[in-house]
C-alpha cells in the first residue's frame, strides 16, 4: 500500500527510490569538537556536548545552531575532542581527601580559643 509522495518537494526533486544505497566511509562525518557554552557574562563556560565538524569555524557555527537556539547563551568555545586530556574514572581515588588533611580546611584554625586564653593569662 505504498503511496505517491504527498510532499511537493519530494516530487519536484524526482528522487529515485530504487537507487543503489550510498555507503558513508570512515570520517565522512569528520571528527568531533567539544562545545563549552556560557549562559551569561560572569559565569564559567560549561561543557554542553559535542558536534561533528570539518574545522573550527564550522564547529562554532554548528555549536551555535545546536546548543544556543533559544537565547540561553552569550559565548561559545569549541575544542577538538582529540585535544582534550582527561583523568579516568577508575583512578578517581586520586581525588579522595584524607581525614588528616585538616590543614586545608578553614574550620581547623581556631584562633579565638588562643586569644581567650592569652587574655585570661595577661589580665591576672
Amino acid at each position: 500500500m505504498k503511496i505517491v509522495s504527498l510532499d511537493p518537494r519530494v516530487n519536484r526533486s524526482s528522487i529515485n527510490e530504487t537507487e543503489e544505497s550510498v555507503v558513508l566511509k570512515k570520517l565522512d562525518q569528520f571528527q568531533t569538537y567539544e562545545v563549552f557554552a556560557q549562559t551569561k557574562r560572569g559565569v564559567h563556560h560549561i561543557h554542553v556536548g559535542s558536534v561533528h565538524a570539518a574545522n573550527k569555524k564550522i564547529a562554532v557555527l554548528f555549536a551555535k545552531e545546536q546548543y544556543a537556539r533559544r537565547g540561553e547563551c552569550v559565548n561559545i568555545w569549541v575544542v577538538k575532542t582529540s585535544d582534550v586530556a582527561t583523568t579516568e574514572y577508575e583512578d578517581s581515588d586520586i581525588f579522595d581527601t584524607l581525614d588528616e588533611k585538616t590543614h586545608r580546611n578553614p574550620e581547623s584554625y581556631k584562633v579565638l580559643d588562643r586569644i581567650k586564653k592569652y587574655k585570661e593569662r595577661t589580665s591576672k
Binding site: L6, I15, L24, L27, Q29, F30, A54, R70
Partner: protein
C-alpha cells in the same frame, strides 16, 4: 519503538549476562542501584552496551525521519507565523537526532555506521513516521500527540542509567514543551474553527489513532529480559505502562474538544483505574515496520538523497590529517 529497549525475539531464551565477569557485574549493578550514572569509559556488560546503542540509535533515527512528514508542510503552512514555528520545530527535531547520535557514539558505534544502517534499512525508527501527513491537520495531530507520546517515553528514559543519554534527553525534553504547546494550539485552532476545519482535524485524528496506539510498541511485560533491563535502568517503564500514562493524560483532552476516537472500547475502567481499549493490530505494525508501510521507501530515499547530495561538499572539506576519537559525551 521510539527509544524503547529492543529485545531480539530469536534470542529470547539466552541470558543477558552470559560470560560476564561476576565481580565487575556486581559492581556495575551496585552503582546503578545507588542511583549513580554509568559513563562512557566505565566497564559495562556487553548486552547493556548493545541494547543502549540500538535504543539510542533508533531514537536518533526517529527524530530525523520524524521531521520528514512534518517538514512536508513547511512550504504550505497556513500563515507566516505557523511556517516559522514549524521550521523551528523541525530544526529542533533534527537537533535532537544530533544529540542522540553523539550519545550513541560514546558507546562505540560510529556516526557513519549509524547513518549507513538507517539508509540501508537495517536499523529501525519509530513506525509512526511510515505514515503520510495528508493534510495540515495531520501535522497538527503529529506535533501534539506524537510529541506527547515521545515526551512520556523521553521523560521515563531521562531517569535511566547511561549518563550521556540522560544528558541528551534533558535538553530534548526542555524543547519538547514548545512542540507540545505548538501542536495543541494548532489542533485547538482547527477544532474550534469552521465545520470544515473541525472535519479536517477529526479526519486526521481518526487516521492517526492506530499508529498512535502502536507508538509504545507491543506489550513487553512478559518478556524475560525486561527484569534485567529494568534493573540496569535501560528500560524505565513497560510499553503498556507508558501507553496507559499517555491515554490517561491525553484522551480526556481530546474528548474535551468534542473530537472522537475510532475505538468503541476506549474508556477508563473505574475499577482498575486503567484504560480499556481494543488491542491494536500488531500484524499491521509488524508489516509496516518491516518495510510494508505507505512511506517507508520514500523516507529512506529522501534521507539517502540528502547524504548523496552533500557528499561532495564533505569530501572537499575533509583534511587528510583528520583523525577520529570518540566524543566525550
Amino acid at each position: 519503538m521510539y527509544g524503547n529497549a529492543y529485545i531480539d525475539p530469536k534470542k529470547a531464551n539466552s541470558s543477558l549476562v552470559e560470560g560476564e565477569n561476576p565481580e565487575k557485574l556486581a559492581e556495575f549493578e551496585a552503582r546503578i542501584l545507588r542511583g549513580e550514572k554509568i559513563e562512557p569509559k566505565d566497564w559495562m556488560p556487553a548486552m547493556y552496551r548493545k541494547q543502549l546503542v540500538r535504543m539510542i540509535e533508533q531514537h536518533a533515527h526517529s527524530e530525523i525521519i520524524g521531521s520528514l512528514p512534518e517538514g512536508t508542510w513547511i512550504t504550505r503552512a497556513p500563515g507566516f507565523r505557523r511556517k516559522l514555528a514549524l521550521m523551528a520545530k523541525v530544526q529542533d527535531e533534527v537537533g535532537h537526532a544530533q544529540l542522540l547520535y553523539n550519545a550513541a557514539e560514546t558507546l562505540g558505534k560510529s556516526r557513519e555506521d549509524m547513518i549507513n544502517d538507517l539508509i540501508s534499512g537495517k536499523s529501525k525508527y519509530s513506525n509512526v513516521f511510515n505514515y503520510p501527513a495528508k493534510t495540515w491537520a495531520d501535522s497538527a495531530v503529529i506535533a501534539w500527540l506524537i510529541d506527547a507520546g515521545a515526551i512520556v517515553n523521553q521523560l521515563a528514559n531521562s531517569r535511566g542509567s547511561y549518563g550521556p543519554y540522560c544528558r541528551a534527553l534533558e535538553r530534548i525534553c526542555a524543547e519538547e514543551s514548545f512542540h507540545l504547546k505548538y501542536g495543541h494550539d494548532n489542533v485547538v485552532f482547527l477544532a474550534t474553527g469552521t465545520s470544515k476545519q473541525r472535519e479536517m482535524v477529526q479526519d486526521a485524528l481518526t487516521r492517526w489513532w492506530p499508529p498512535i496506539m502502536h507508538f509504545f510498541g507491543p506489550s513487553d511485560k512478559d518478556s524475560i529480559h525486561s527484569e534485567t533491563l529494568m534493573r540496569w535502568k535501560v528500560k524505565m517503564a513497560s510499553n503498556d505502562d507508558m501507553r496507559q500514562q499517555f491515554l490517561n493524560m491525553y484522551v480526556p483532552k481530546i474528548w474535551d474538544l468534542g473530537l472522537t476516537l475510532p475505538d468503541p472500547n476506549l474508556k477508563k475502567n473505574e475499577e482498575t483505574g486503567k484504560w480499556d481499549y481494543t488491542e491494536p493490530d500488531w500484524e499491521e505494525f509488524k508489516r509496516v515496520i518491516n518495510g510494508g508501510g505507505p512511506c517507508n521507501a520514500e523516507r529512506l530515499a529522501v534521507r539517502r538523497t540528502a547524504e548523496e547530495n552533500g557528499q561532495w561538499v564533505r569530501k572537499a572539506l575533509l583534511k587528510e590529517t583528520e583523525t577520529y576519537v570518540t566524543p566525550l559525551s
